[in-house]
Symmetry: C4
Subunit: 254 residues, 4 copies
């Protein structure tokens, strides 16, 4: 899922750095065409144009994957660590699962977010959750809409279902019945667990820090304090050495 | 959502500090009138008086927002960071969403709570959860009551639904069917995730601290210990300097 | 809910310490009689004997509460901090809520568990969860069994419902419909959130500690290390002072 | 559930170490035969062969348990601490619960995973969750399939139910109705709570560490820094001692 290389490999890293934003743009164009296909249900003529565009976008992903595979050293290890990337490229037969390509957007977001770790995590979680909910709604609608017996028949219902699922509330008033819809649901649930985990972990980190700051009497010794201690010892050492020199010069006759 | 200003801006801060309690009172009056409107369903004559009062309260929120916007520097940045505040002022067309104004109560509560961080978080979470459950019950009842096909038809049912939702249990015996009711539900679910997160984080912080206290052999060096170390080094330095002076005076002939 | 006194109050503390185990026994007897009443549904004659016994047990709780109120200083503050204890004594009109008396068992368990904080939390959580599930099953069965339209009609079903609720799974195949049953459900959900929180927090504390142990290069300075540093400085100071004395005695003529 | 011995007991430990992989293989064979029995529903002739194989595997577990009991010192304490192991051996009457034997796989996995604690936890959680979902699906299908009124009638449905349960979403579109199915569900829910806990705890540990690294100004004093401080003090002490020796030799006449 990630594009980090294992071990130093400057050519692969350079390629990944250069293609990051182009690839994010490709993913974004894909998201727009997919949204149009699902939400507007264009007439057949327009739809086949969008399908062709979609095939071109898929080819770009495939090329990107193959270039990275060619540049990777050792190739076998890279292949194993990037099996999810292969899945994204090789599994376009189920239309909703094509949306997995959007994970490249998450990688791009990762770099766009700020430097302060907790702020980064917060922005990341918020925008990631919104994207996840939107994409899952599209995918489940695409999978379930024409299924007899399915209750998810409009984007509004799909959105409502996504929100109840990602928060792990799960009323069950709407639930997917097709295999594709259920795969989407499983991915959304994993997203929901991670969301819960990230929210809690960020809060925990914040509370732990605030509690530590509060407890001034038992505050942890900091590196800065050790540094000032070192300065005092150095000062003392210099005084001692000066004295030793003076002593030696004072008793030349010995 | 917050009223903190970014960067030093004494006039804006002064305004926010002065208006905090008046604004909290306005929000409280709004909560009471809204509760009466939803729970008692007063006759038309009384209801129009309450609606007029409600418009006056809304005007006060609007004035507060405009004054803050006027005082803010740089204004553009303030505007962007306070888009939720704009939403609170600008979206009164959906009656249940007016309750978003109550977030000013949370800010006030924040200051009223004690100083010890974990106690503060506990009080904050408990009172915030109770307010959230009450307000969500009112809002969902207001939105769903007259909808054909909705099961949430009394305050008792609305309260039961709110509790099952905020705890993420989500039986699904009752679930909102109107768009407004579902927006309320989504806000409640976000509240539920945060609630779970805060409870867990507070417990984690407490356990981490207790475990650290227990492990006396590997207790972290504290700032106090560094301070006592520094005192000893200072004492040593003074002894050295005294000696150096004595030495110099003992060998005046050099 | 707790029996800790605020501020030193030796007489109150002594009373609470002495009555802890007797009170736990009373609560246990109450749990047994209640279980018999709900599960065995004894004939009227036996049931009225159990009700009489129940009144006696309630009187013991009342006496315990009044003695503590009499011993407490300042009494007003104790009263406010122990409002839940008053609720336990004063609200016996709803039979299932009588089970709130069992919180004294939790206090007793608190002392019985070992000294190692994480082990303590684990034992506490496991036994507390089992007790909570059993008691909630009894209470919801007692409240819902004879209600038309309720699906919770046997202890097995009640137990299944309790487990799905406390884990926040909430299928909704069974859900309480009476106000008392829903109050029991709300308490159980709060228990479930706490359970999730405690499990997560204990795991987090364990992982944080293991990660810290692993990172030997950046291991935190410990109090023991500061102590050994202090010993070296003391040794140095003594050497310096010995030297100063020798110097003074070597130059008596000054 | 664990195979760790309490107190040093070299013979027991040696036995457990030697039998770890053979036992894991036995559990794996059992998992395969059970999967065939549930998923393929072989004709009676094949099924009775599998049942016989199953009895042999059970005998191996029994022998392993008895050998450990014989080697354990003190035996009574070992017996109490390993009651879950007894349950695994003694409760084969409910076919789905036989799968509890697979916990030996978890122990084996524990040793196979790497050394870095967070990576270990991640691998452990991911593979454990997949195994848990697969095994719970098999067990619930086996228990529910032939029950009138049950909705879990195919492996696909069982898998979907397992995923919604382990993530605590719990739609309730499918829910077990047999006692055995509900015991499986309860174990799965406990697994789900632990899963949520582990994900959150690992994330919390990571965020806490990253926040600490970020805060360079207040970085905790490390053992390495204390060590460098000690080196400087040692250097100073040597200078002092050299001086003392020189002083003594400079004033031989005293």
């Amino acid at each position: 899922m990630t594009t980090t290389s294992h071990g130093p490999n400057p050519r692969l890293e350079q390629w990944e750095k250069r293609t990051e934003w182009p690839l994010a743009s490709v993913a974004l164009i894909f998201l727009i065409t997919y949204s149009v296909q699902v939400l507007a249900r264009p007439p057949h003529r327009v739809d086949s144009v969008l399908e062709t565009l979609n095939t071109v976008l898929w080819a770009l992903f495939l090329v990107h994957y193959l270039v990275r595979l060619a540049l990777a050293r050792p190739r076998g290890r890279w292949f194993l660590w990037h099996l999810p990337d292969l899945a994204i490229v090789a599994l376009p037969f189920l239309r909703p699962l094509r949306l997995l390509r959007l994970v490249v957007l998450i990688t791009a977001m990762h770099r766009a977010a700020g430097d302060v770790i907790r702020g980064k995590v917060a922005i990341y979680t918020a925008s990631g959750s919104l994207l996840l909910i939107y994409v899952a709604s599209l995918a489940v609608l695409d999978a379930e809409r024409d299924e007899p017996g399915s209750a998810i028949t409009s984007f509004g219902k799909a959105l409502w279902w996504s929100i109840t699922t990602v928060t792990t509330v799960g009323y069950g008033d709407l639930a997917p019945v097709t295999p594709t819809g259920r795969v989407v649901a499983a991915l959304l649930m994993i997203g929901g667990i991670s969301l819960l985990g990230v929210v809690t972990a960020t809060l925990a980190s914040w509370i732990v820090q605030r509690v530590a700051e509060e407890d001034t009497a038992n505050q942890t010794a900091t590196a800065a304090q050790i540094e000032s201690l070192r300065a005092e010892i150095r000062h003392l050492t210099e005084a001692q050495e000066r004295h030793n020199r003076e002593c030696r010069s004072a008793t030349p006759a010995d």
